[in-house]
Amino acid sequence: MTSEPLNASRNNSTTRHAERRLLRRYVVLSVGLFAPLVLSFVFIRNVYPVAVWKVMLLDPEAPRGRTYFILRGETVGGETIDIPPINLMGGMYGRTWWMAGATAANSSFKLGSLHPENARMLAEVGGVERLPRGARLPELIRVWGDIYNERQPAGSPRRLKAMRLDAYRWDGVRFDDYEQFVESWRAEL
């Protein structure tokens, strides 16, 4: 039995070569991750998947105040109940409030490349300024309502006959009057 110094030195050289290659990869990885993050930070702009951490901020140039939404269901038993959508669609955690706001503002009609259905709707009404607010909200509300009803036993008085999204506004100045009703969207189920 013998040991092989030549083989050992060959192995060492291969390992060193592999480590040098990894070192180069680490440099590329670090620059590839941090360079876009720094650029995004400089321009304060999110370009997915590059994030700028502009969290817990109020835009000083934006008008104060906020429109907010309450999702409600009208049951076949005649009650009106609050239904938090997180219980219906956990996958949208942390984003539902924004999704409702963007849909109310018709944001999906203001893209460079429109969904063909949205383009068709725009052509029918004659432009985004003629579109009613929340043109796609009834579809979204109906999805929530359907999911809610699927979880109720057939014949339950808790089943919904309609789902509603009520919009309110807070002026963002006075810390007392929070509920100025603005408008409502409703979808029959």
């Binding site: 039995m1 013998t2 040991s3 092989e4 083989n7 390992t15 592999a18 480590e19 990894l22 070192l23 680490y26 990885l29 670090s30 991750l33 993050l37 930070f41 304060i44 999110n46 997915y48 998947p49 590059v50 700028v52 951490w53 502009k54 817990m56 901020l57 109020l58 835009d59 104060r64 907010y68 939404f69 309450i70 999702l71 938090p84 959508p85 219906l88 669609m89 996958g91 949208m92 942390g94 984003r95 539902t96 924004w98 999704m99 409702a100 963007a102 944001s107 999906s108 893209l111 969904h115 063909p116 259905e117 796609r136 579809e139 979204l140 999805v143 807070w170 963002g172 810390f175 929070y178």
Partner: protein
């Protein structure tokens, strides 16, 4: 490097398991079918998500399409978590997760919570994170790289990415709002905005108490900004780490109760600051874990490769050495002879013991050994592969030695070798030749 971060393959592997495991659990708990019912017409593809066509989104955002995405994500993340086919599975996990998170942000908005985790997956996909604490590493008796920079740097990079998030957040607050950020009304306004609706995930009402405490809030906000600025210290100063991370936990739970905003993924990603190998070593002192660890060390301890060892006696070359006292082993050698296209020499290892180096002799009762034409020695599943290759069964050998099969060949061999009695009973063979 090791003064800043644990720089071993096991430490990096444990972090891989943790990061992928967090995403795996949440993917499994999420109803993708319900997500698939959202109207595609409200989608606003963000960033790279604009590269995909509307036709693609029409087909994807359906209950069936989203279920396919869920199964693909769950399978890939499960493989990455256990470290099986790690080089491939970490890449697919990173790509699929980037896509999935982009899709969620295209419906909602650019939440930052999961972003650190997404970047961690990118880091893991580009590093040898399967070299330790993985199914892939089961059959490997040697590390591919020396412990140190190769395994430590990815951990340092992940810590730095998390620190960047907090640090840049503090700078941006001051860039955008300046001294106005410390206005007594800023925090109550932010908190109340997020407490008015029922579309947030929680509905705590503590925000409405904040205006009464507005005199103290500039100080509280100032301390938070200082903490965010100081977060990079957690990377470079181990002593400060516990304090900075503890404040982080407190901060995120405060935002939950005061603002109905929670960053659970970001909190979970603090796991990159924990020395899991050291935690595991401490756990190993506790009774049930100690026994388990000793069993594992013993199970895994039989070497299959013997670096630098060569058998000088040429008469032993290209021969199989096996435990001559084991009837089951003899029967298996007989089967291998019948399977072989080219016959090979075989002999009980006891008969040539004096010609074997110590390390091979010690393992001779635990496994078979193959001595190749150059005198190099391999044992166990490695010996089986070499034997099949040398005896003309090259395709079977290549299959057993392929990355998907290698860990299972090793595990199968070890289990059978360790429980030869039971295996003999199952195969209807005698355990002993005597």
């Amino acid at each position: 490097m090791s003064r800043l971060v644990p720089a071993s393959a096991t430490a990096l592997g444990m972090i891989r398991a943790g990061v992928c495991g967090v995403f795996l659990l949440t993917v499994l708990a999420t109803s993708f079918q319900n997500l698939g019912r959202l109207p595609v017409t409200i989608l606003r593809p963000t960033g790279i998500m604009q590269l995909f066509s509307w036709g693609f989104y029409d087909r994807l955002v359906t209950p069936g399409g989203m279920s396919v995405l869920k199964y693909a994500l769950a399978a890939s993340l499960a493989l990455s978590t256990v470290g099986y086919l790690t080089r491939l599975s970490t890449i697919t996990s990173a790509l699929l997760l980037i896509f999935y998170q982009g899709l969620l942000r295209s419906f909602g908005h650019f939440t930052h919570d999961e972003m650190a985790g997404v970047y961690f997956l990118i880091v893991l996909a580009a590093t040898p994170c399967g070299d330790g604490f993985s199914v892939d590493s089961l059959a490997r008796t040697r590390r591919r790289h020396a412990e140190g920079f190769v395994y430590g740097y990815p951990i340092l990079l992940m810590q730095s990415l998390l620190a960047w998030g907090y640090f840049s957040s503090a700078v941006i607050k001051l860039r955008v709002m300046g001294a106005g950020y410390f206005n007594p009304d800023t925090l109550p306004t932010l908190a109340i905005i997020h407490s008015l609706d029922n579309l947030h995930d929680t509905h705590f009402r503590l925000a409405f108490l904040l205006p009464e405490a507005s005199a103290y809030l500039p100080v509280a906000v100032g301390l938070i900004v200082v903490w965010e600025f100081a977060f990079p210290l957690a990377v470079v100063w181990r002593r400060a780490r516990v304090w900075i991370l503890s404040v982080g936990v407190l901060f995120h739970f405060s935002t939950l109760f005061l603002m109905n905003i929670f960053f659970p993924y970001t909190l979970a990603m603090y796991l990159v600051f924990i020395d899991w190998e050291s935690v595991s070593n401490r756990l190993a002192r506790v009774r049930p874990w100690r026994g388990l660890r000793e069993w594992w060390r013993d199970f895994r301890g039989v070497p299959e490769e013997f670096d630098g060892v060569k058998i000088a006696d040429t008469s032993l070359r290209e021969s199989l050495l096996w435990d001559g006292d084991c009837g089951f082993c003899g029967a298996m050698v007989g089967r291998l002879q019948r399977l072989a296209r080219r016959p090979f020499q075989e002999r009980p290892s006891r008969t040539v013991e004096e010609k074997l180096p110590d390390e091979v002799r010690r393992a001779a009762r635990e496994q078979m050994h193959w001595i190749d034409a150059d005198g190099a020695v391999t044992g166990g599943s490695r010996a089986l592969v070499e034997l099949l290759d040398a005896s003309g069964r090259k395709s079977v050998a290549a299959l057993l030695d392929s990355p998907p099969c290698r860990p299972f060949a090793w595990l199968g061999y070890r289990l059978v070798a360790r429980h030869r009695d039971k295996a003999a009973r199952l195969a209807g063979q005698p355990r002993s030749n005597s």
